[in-house]
Symmetry: C2
Subunit: 430 residues, 2 copies
């Protein structure tokens, strides 16, 4: 029997604002950051690593929220925790006092996500398999048990979820083999940051095509004339067959979004991402209806499964962009994958930042192997930033993610990076 | 010219769980708490006081979030801040890095609410008037300038808001005088906590009627048979004319809510509060349609104005229950009052906890004097807990709130209470 002996936290920040990497219409100067958690045990086995991605200021608040969970974890029996991850999730999310701080949204909910993801990293390492495979090897019943169906049953019952998973089960082994052989499709956002000039945009677009990508993404929403010019440059380089998604990062109101997107429509955007507030389900539905056949994508700032449920019920989004660290970890993302499958909407995860590619690839691959069973219109964001800090960095080749092979959730940051990027005392910040 | 010299914070907790005061179906053991902020200046004038209400664990996280705002406030020019409160709000809410932690929801958003409310307390004290009067005396143009209309304009434009306020302006002086003379209608939740036995429920219901209340509220959602029995007891004591609201505190899914409320309908509940997740706009709309003529009330956990907008657009709630410390302070609540007025839905604020009655009464009174212009179906929650800790406690007489007379927002806690209830080192907790 082993116990959790410590929950160690780190306020890690990377000075990305110095290069305008990651700049968009709402986030002009992000310093990519991780509120990072390590769950340690009293046996000789591995530790569990998880984090919340933030963009700088407030990362300390996020760390404080993770620390508030310490009494619920330290001293707990590791085998018991990992034997019933659905119950572990419910205990954390439904704590009768902490719940008030959301409920189920914002800093406290994301903090739970970090420790839930650290528990899954620990589970996968102890099982000696990558997380995507650990999840895919669960039975349909075990997968359903991960999910809290409270507030979901008007859209998806446990019985319906079970039916979906059982229907997907026969092909799992074949799809897992294909995933290992061929990888998972990726698109790149690297060319399209708003802070880049036209020459850099054009150069990076060409490099993306040369690297084998069949979809890129451009940030929009700062200035309409700029957006039209930048989209024209990209479309000229890409030709008609490479998909170009655009991303407004919540910049617009409903009517403004419709007007703006109509001006961009001649350049055939594959989707329009975050056209307005992530909370505005009815607004997204109105936008989606008005701009069709251009489609809406959202999710990276959608607070929880109840919001995703409604986006799907209202046909407000045509792509579900899960994020590995916005909701309460793997379990809640499994709920969202099941909802998306029920509504027949493809999941195209948000990534980038620091570690989001590493973390979310497992969920996209699990979705393909065990839930949706398809890669049609599924594609995983890729940004080539900060992977060098990870023990098991993503491997993207010829426009596709290779399936992770090492045990764990790929969320572990290397010790020298933990030391150097610790804010404010690490060498990078001193 | 004076400056903000300090933002002092306090983790204050009150051991209310020892008495089961405040117990309901989702919150069985709250320790009412305040993440408390004092803005100090370098002149001889007053300080500004504000807080976030929480229910215990995690209050330290909420304090950390308030502290993250310190660099944006300390050193700022007081007159400039108070001269343009709309701009001050936007600077805090739209900080390009902190925004990621919500956006506009949860711990970080509530922290902004605490300092925004502290600024309003400071403004009202410096003006020598209670907050409700300071707000009511603003011109329609000044009130519109308090509000950030981003994401609202599909439901309410600044021009429409101005029109609403101008229509209400001629009667302001008369309504203010009537408010001072007659007070504002209150209902009491004191009889109905789930932890109380039937005898205590009956006794407190009788006491509420004797005290002049014409509406009470009962917690429900734990056990249906218990709810039916308790509602029958209360209805027998109240007779047909006293209104009895019921409050499920988010306990149900959509279908469960409909089934449960139909069983309670014979006892004529005035409203059903928080039947399901506060995030579930479509769920509330479905419930409201199914249980009519019983009406839905919600708001105390609704994260921001974009969510309120949709609840109103979807006709999902028939009463808007603003909370003084859930959203980003006075400015955002003004936006919500304007939305409610546009949709013709009465505002019945959430109160109770510690200090929520003190804080929110000003907003209900401002709504009556300057926005909705009506008390029809408007009523303000009252719970007789912890008022003795406040410098300007609420005064409820014959079932009505008396209008505050002292300068400020009534949010100031007495120094001995700050010292005794500080967690974990105050005398109450040692």
């Amino acid at each position: 029997m082993s116990q959790i002996t410590a929950l160690d936290t780190f306020d890690l920040r990377f000075p990305t604002s110095r290069m305008l990497d990651g700049s968009d219409a709402m986030n002009p100067d992000p310093d990519y950051s991780a509120a990072y958690a390590i769950l340690r045990t009293d046996d000789d086995g591995p530790d569990g690593h998880g984090f919340v991605f933030t963009i700088g200021r407030g990362n300390d608040v996020q760390v404080a929220a993770i620390e508030a969970l310490r009494p619920m974890l330290v001293g707990a029996d590791v085998e018991a925790l990992l034997a019933d991850p659905g119950e572990a999730w419910r205990r954390l999310v439904h704590d009768s006092q902490l719940r008030w701080l959301g409920p189920e949204k914002g800093v406290m909910h994301m903090a739970i996500g970090a420790v839930v993801n650290a528990l899954w990293d620990l589970a996968a390492k102890r099982a000696g398999v990558p997380l995507w495979r650990l999840l895919s090897d669960l039975s349909p019943e075990q997968i359903v048990d991960l999910v809290d169906f409270r507030y979901l049953e008007d859209a998806l019952t446990p019985a319906e979820a079970l039916e979906l998973l059982r229907a997907a089960a026969p092909g799992k082994a074949e799809r897992a083999a294909r995933l290992v052989a061929d990888g998972f499709p990726a698109y790149t956002t690297s060319p399209g940051w708003l802070g880049y000039d036209d020459a850099k945009l054009a150069r990076l677009t060409r490099e993306a095509l040369d690297a084998g990508f069949t979809q890129i993404k451009l940030k929009v929403g700062g200035d309409l004339d700029d957006d039209v010019r930048r989209l024209r440059i990209a479309r000229e380089i890409c030709g008609p067959d490479v998909r170009i998604a655009v991303d407004a990062n919540q910049r617009w109101g409903v009517d403004e979004a419709v007007r703006w997107v109509k001006e961009l429509a001649p350049f055939d955007p594959w989707w329009v991402e975050e056209p307005t507030s992530p909370d505005d389900i009815l607004g997204h539905a109105a936008i989606a209806e008005a701009i069709a056949p251009v489609r809406v994508a959202t999710g990276e700032h959608v607070a929880n499964r109840v919001m995703f449920k409604q986006l799907l019920q209202a046909r407000a989004t045509q792509f579900v962009q899960i994020d590995a660290t916005r909701v309460a970890g793997v379990n809640e993302n499994v709920a969202i994958l099941l909802l998306a499958a029920k509504f027949g909407v493809p999941v195209c995860p948000h990534a980038g930042g620091v570690g989001l590619c590493e973390a979310v690839q497992h969920l996209a691959m699990f979705d393909y192997v065990a839930v949706s069973g398809s890669t049609e219109d599924r594609i995983l964001e890729y940004v080539d930033h900060l992977h060098e800090h990870f023990a098991d960095p993503v491997r993207v080749e010829n426009g596709r993610y290779r399936a992770p092979e090492l045990p764990g959730a790929s969320t572990e940051i290397l010790v020298p990076s933990l030391v150097a990027h610790r804010y404010p005392d690490g060498s990078v910040w001193r």
